[in-house]
Assembly symmetry: D2
């Protein structure tokens, strides 16, 4: 309990410092003058651009994407008027866009099965103040992780699951997502398949970690198959979940070197360290609104 209070306290304090920070993501057809329009809008609304990253899918007739982080004194009060003013610009230039505010912290749920290493990494980063989110609930189909989670004051729900009861399990999970008002679902080695209905409910808001270097070893038993194939590197991939198993937009991947001496057990052990850091990075970038999904790919502004 003591730990938890301390964590929330430190996150709370950080957030206050950053209360006047916003982020604007925009997507539209590329044409001359877009950056000028956006930067002039922010300037006239007394906002200073702190960070700006852009990408155009093609020098000619491409699609334009931009992420702008800005500072604006009194942003909490001004935000709704700014958004209203922005509507006109967005209409003229046919923009898709979203505003994000650091004073509105993302509410995350973590789903986990038996293996706790990814959950632990996220909790650890969170305690350390390195994940700017409220972890509001942990859901598992096993009891194993309960003590770690409850020690941090986070509600833990064990909902046993298997394919025969998938529908009622998901109904209960959705109910909890609503109860806890969850923005982001993190599958931290949650080994149950989700139904299309569930996935559609949270489009581009479910991040999974797959324990292979996709598209190699899609599906079950990736470490076993990596061992059989005799690869010299193993990897992990975090991606948004879509209804094509392990084929959603990739956010981050990484690998480690292995050799002939590493049996499946060793591969799993090495793999755990990759999974931990790959998932943590993907979640962090999502929370920082660095990711734009375009088709089945991601643009990640570093």
């Amino acid at each position: 309990m003591q730990i938890d209070t301390q964590v929330r306290g430190s996150l709370q304090q950080r957030s206050t410092d950053l209360d006047n920070r916003g982020r604007l993501l925009v997507k539209c057809a590329d044409k001359p003058g877009i950056v000028s329009v956006l930067s002039t809008f922010l300037h006239t609304h007394h906002s200073n651009i702190i960070e700006s990253s852009q990408y155009s899918s093609n020098p000619e007739n491409g699609t334009f994407f931009i992420r702008i982080a800005y500072h604006c004194d009194g942003l909490r009060e001004k935000a709704s008027q700014m958004e209203k003013d922005f509507e006109q610009i967005a209409t003229v230039h046919n923009m898709e866009y979203s505003f994000h505010y650091l004073h509105e912290r993302t509410r995350s749920a973590i789903f986990v099965s038996k293996e706790p290493h990814c959950l632990m990494e996220l909790l650890w980063e969170w305690q350390n103040g390195d994940l700017d989110t409220d972890i509001v609930v942990v859901i598992s189909n096993h009891e194993d992780a309960r003590p770690f989670v409850e020690a941090l004051g986070i509600p833990y729900y064990c909902i046993p699951a298997n394919k025969d009861i998938r529908k009622q399990v998901e109904a209960e999970q959705i109910r909890l997502m609503e109860e806890y008002n969850v923005d982001l679902l993190i599958l931290a080695r949650y080994m149950q398949i989700l139904t299309p209905a569930f996935v559609d409910h949270f489009e581009n808001r479910i991040i999974n970690i797959h324990h292979s270097f996709l598209p190699a070893f899609i599906g079950a038993g990736p470490y076993e198959r990596a061992y059989e194939r005799g690869v010299k590197l193993i990897g992990a991939t975090s991606h948004y979940v879509t209804n094509n198993l392990d084929e959603g937009p990739i956010i981050e991947q990484d690998v480690e070197r292995v050799d002939h001496r590493d049996n499946v057990g060793e591969l799993k052990k090495i793999g755990r360290t990759i999974e931990r850091r790959v998932l943590a990075k993907a979640v962090k970038w999502h929370l920082e609104n660095r990711i734009i999904v375009e088709g089945n790919k991601t643009i990640v502004f570093h």
Copy 2:
């Protein structure tokens, strides 16, 4: 000769495609509205921003840096008027700035001593069309590399050097730099110390490769000293040359793993592959105007 003609032909062709591309680097005090000013300037000059990267040294009262790559039809003709128009803006906002055009290729000289690996890597990348420069002359204090260089149709000058004749050697080198109208000097394992007078003559235009992970093992014999210390990684560092030996602004560094079995000879062999890629990257970024030197550090916009 045949090889050389082919290379120049392919670079020539690429350059024509990119004739209408420019880059603008700006540095000034950070304040709201700078991006708006710059993007509006380019827009009113019918230029489309292709790439833009910025950095502020501090959210409050920091220094602002930006690199903008843009496309402008007929740029070759419009450039001088644009530059003239920009002067006013620069004066108002107290900007340091520079315009760069892809139709004006940087002219590079490579300096090398006995070990040819870095020279070879640069020549190789250049033949491959991956270094957008004219390599106009190679200067060495040894004859070793002459056949490789002349086979590519590049003039090669062997100017024996040692500390007693440094002054007259440098006079001859400077004469050649002027004769060949050189913009960039690349020290590709050139093992002679340069005098302050020479360095000052080419401020922020001399790139060196040092065969250690600076600031470890400054000076002579870095692989020998790495061996003595028993490090588990060795590295290389490319940096702009200043008058403090091996202490100029770092552009790029990289490392490779070594172990107790690697003697000094092995370290050098492994080191060569690091040196090759680190120097090639630094040169490429310089040619793409991705680097801004600020104090004794670099901002590198990737």
Copy 3:
């Protein structure tokens, strides 16, 4: 408490499986026939070599080092006779050597100050069954880590320390090392200097993590100095502690890429992930008797 019991149970079980495994480390002058002597010795003692790694410092008149892992049914009972029989061989060939048994688990103490990340990593690896040791005590000069440690059933002693009371602090620490019968001391970001007397007491048995890529940034404030120098990679180094600050034999090093946007705070954050994995690897290799210290360098048999 429940967590702790579970960890110990799983380690206990693993150890039983491996009860018949031993490791033999030997160092002597290199000459033909050494491997033959050792392998014949083990064979005549009904031991099967599972893993064997050797190194000779020089093809001619070098020093020979070998690590042999072997299996022997009933090793627990046979070990003392084997050691007695080996004495003769060792005398004839003038060998330094040591036998290690997997049924005798290393007893470790962890020292930590305020920053808990390295401690957490070790505890996590240990809970996961990936550190084959008994963590018998944690000592700190602060109270911060107490809840994490005691939750795992590990005794925690807070001994405030500063340079004025160093002698009495170390006396108390040594008393605890003796009370808990400690084999290995792990300095997991313990920010106090140890006296020569203390270090000598535990020669080659104290592992430290230094938060830089040694020999760069020896001493205090390495991240601050890395920031000042504008390096493009930061690192961490684990080493055995000697009486020359940060100059003991290096066990492992690693680095991560940084750029101009990373301020000191960011460097520290990135650095923490490096420190965690570098220290964990060094400790693991020590526990697996993979390390031989020779002069001021290590031989690490992977």
Copy 4:
């Protein structure tokens, strides 16, 4: 011509120094005493073990593999008697084995199509004295690389190829392999499929570089498909060629980071640097007899 003479001279000299070095590779059923038998054999034949690496596929009833590098004065003269003496041991223990001598240099052929980067890397490493082989012939289905190759005094044959004339093309290639007495075939981006008859003729002696991180993107257009999938790392794989396309035993793999800005052209450019180093490593390890093929996997003794 001058370059070539210089290279051969330096390789020749190195080889003389190492004339008394041999390597023994052994595979047999694992059982106690094997290392003892081998090391005693070498000792009684006045050979000193310089390097020894072993691997057992399983602690119980596994297969045992060992690579021993040894020094023996007068090896050139003693080799045939040693081999004869070893036959008995091999029969008793049912060993597969091979002796290799540094005074008998491997004769390599390089096959290449249009893209020269892998060929260039091999030639470069070879000139540098880092590939201990005679490159006796280069075969291509294009003329592009002829000048580079002939400049080094290496015969170059251009044999246009396509699937309709595959049989006669391969007949000509085999004739050349025999004429030049080739031990090792290196496919340095040779873009023609080889027939089973050809592959069988050179079992475990053809090394290929595939431009993806296998098993991802088997077959044609891997960079195009990597781009489509939006992966965040691209890779290359070197492997022995078997009759299952891109499914032979993997020797080495590596990757580089890419991002959303990298189009197919950029991926290819980045990929070239990976392909170069991955193929060079695989060839080097083959030449050093570090690789044992077991089933569809490799054991690589580093």
